[in-house]
Symmetry: C2
Subunit: 458 residues, 2 copies
Amino acid sequence: MSEQLQPQTESDDGLTLELASWAAAATAEQIEPDAEKFARHALLDCIGVALAGAHEEGVKALFATAIGEELTTHGTGATIMGLSARSAAPNAALINGTAAHALDFDDVHFDMPGHPTVAIMPAVLAVAERDGRMLHDVIAAYVVGVEVACAVGRYMTQSHYTQGWHATGTVGAIGAAAAVSHLLGADAETTARAIGLAVSQCGGLKSMFGTACKPMHAGRAAHNGVMSASLAARGFTARTDMLETAQGFAAAFAGARDAAAARAGLGTGVHGVRGILFKYHAACYGTHASIDAMLHVREEHAVDPTEIQKVELVVPEENTRICDIKSPTTGLEAKFSMTQTAAMALSGVATGDINNYSETWCADSNIVSLRERIEVEVDPSEFRPVATARVHMRDGVVFGSFADLGVPETDLARQERRLSEKFRLLACGQLGEMTDAFAQRILEGAADTPVSTVVQGL
Amino acid sequence: MSEQLQPQTESDDGLTLELASWAAAATAEQIEPDAEKFARHALLDCIGVALAGAHEEGVKALFATAIGEELTTHGTGATIMGLSARSAAPNAALINGTAAHALDFDDVHFDMPGHPTVAIMPAVLAVAERDGRMLHDVIAAYVVGVEVACAVGRYMTQSHYTQGWHATGTVGAIGAAAAVSHLLGADAETTARAIGLAVSQCGGLKSMFGTACKPMHAGRAAHNGVMSASLAARGFTARTDMLETAQGFAAAFAGARDAAAARAGLGTGVHGVRGILFKYHAACYGTHASIDAMLHVREEHAVDPTEIQKVELVVPEENTRICDIKSPTTGLEAKFSMTQTAAMALSGVATGDINNYSETWCADSNIVSLRERIEVEVDPSEFRPVATARVHMRDGVVFGSFADLGVPETDLARQERRLSEKFRLLACGQLGEMTDAFAQRILEGAADTPVSTVVQGL
């Protein structure tokens, strides 16, 4: 064992039950208006990416395998979004969670670190729909789940992730179990068993990134959350100290046991839902900061792309290894090209529209001309997801811009506008002219709207 | 990382594909008659323990959660044994695997180390039934799965288990994926992806022993095997080197990478099915060697228990910590009492009958009298599952006996008799007067018997 894996100074004794007690005792009144906004935004975004992701090959294979093509099912159960199907809640969570992460276009949280919503929301939604619960039940359970996932992520520290674990599949499952436990009205002891059950069933390694297994890890986490919370509620036996016990989660999954960080701010919302970072561009995450920097320039100065002499784009060195394809020709290559995506953003081509990552835009003469005027430079001292741009106009004017993806949005009206636009692009194929009304219902609908009336038929 | 976790001298490059290639190329002709016998014995035993285990509380909770009480399902799918239900193959494997391990009365293999049959057989059975396959398909797939699980277990070495992992849930899932891949006729590349998918979804920690999570780990492994092999067959993308790759199975799951041991004997059957050790006593495994030692004395010398002056029983020290309750009063306590179970065995009370672990037998005056004449001694140098007994008769004669659970049975006719008797006790409640005929069909039935005709209605 390396030094890094030794327990920190603050004892982690009783941590599982502490988190479970907090989750069981959390009340709707504790959820501040900002946190509720974030939860509604996450719900809208989750449905959007799930509807668009449901048609990926891997999701369809998962559906055929888990549900069984030879069977027909009758009864309430839960909706499998985008596939006009229903199943028992665990498999609905499995498939919806996988679909929602299939495009890697869903939100992230640095405390986990990973993708909180695709692990937690599909679990909550499936059980809430099945059990006839309301929108406010989903919001409360989701907020609790994200808070627990963030606390567990801080407890494990970056060590868990850097040693190979895909925290979305592991920490995300624990968050999902806590969320569904809250939804089911579990007490602290039951919630602690649910967390233990989630540890007993969780997994997923980063070495599978680049394959269809990555989104499946999110779906498995959601499935795990439904199973663990439901089994615990039915009295299934499990340890109540599984995070910290000998050969428990921290020990076996390379956690560095920072109990102080886990406890810090639990329940304040600052580390939880209000730390969620949404994605607005359907490309590799490494391209997002430079796209945002370009959009700032375009929005503030209304530049004419043909009048740009050159763009200097300063990014972390890591970016040049993952998304620096200089002459992309396919849609997939475009997603891994900082210059292509930056040129699209400067030219007003929507980077949130998955259809714009195409051979056509890769070959567009104006885009090609502009991307060749973008010079990527490296700041070797920078490791955060940031980009600095200097846009040199032919008339000598220089516009500067900076974007930092690591800072959650404080202008929630702006976040809502951007997410609504993103949802429109993702969901209009399925929802058609109902798209905006659907979004409005999620964003502004009465808290006692039954979940089933929202998701049925998706 | 400790020294122990460094790679051994022989390179593990390409190991996943090597195992997958062997599994894909294995033919029915390679399965020697002894191996087929072992496979039929394992199938019979698996059905027996699943039928008896299906009524445990945890299994019923799992059924209600995974299948959904609010749904009804129509179609072929696969049988959920003991519960008069059907579902898609993955959930049938989940519940049958959990039921089969619920009593901890199923077989073990020291190469994994763990419980091969409950992880592998329910996966194979569910897919074989659904797809209209024959008994010989099940036998071949099971033999392949056990062989791969044993090879992976040797590759990981004891390190994987001692660091906290429940190999039944992890290595067992990989074996199940290889088994179902063989059943589905997968090529080497597809089988390697299935192994990768199994790694991506596997888990289970020993710290959950003593809870209902332990049997669930077996069920999850079986579920995982069906999902992984089926997804791989449908083209789901995954790495083909997931055992040995950086931050893959060995790295993340504390494997010591003994590639030479993994490769040694692959396909000879010596390490595989012919190394399976069946259980005949429905008590803690620590009591089994002493029970067997008593049975040897009883069978060979027809002793009258009332004529026994005392019994000296020499066991590993570990036994005194796990199964040395001196005055058991409940059925559960009886299972963890070497003297109670030894007295029952000497007196002809069937230790394979779960109903004999009862308050009645704990309070029986003859049993109590005899167990108080049994003196447990410790051999601190012994760590294997063995027991040495010296039975002192009142007339001065001393009968010696020794039992070693670590040696697979070579007298397969004896193994078959004992397993048939065990099956009768486990299954007669459900199968009634059909019990022996059912067993006969498994043990001697034509290789082209359709699986569905065997398991439907169980």
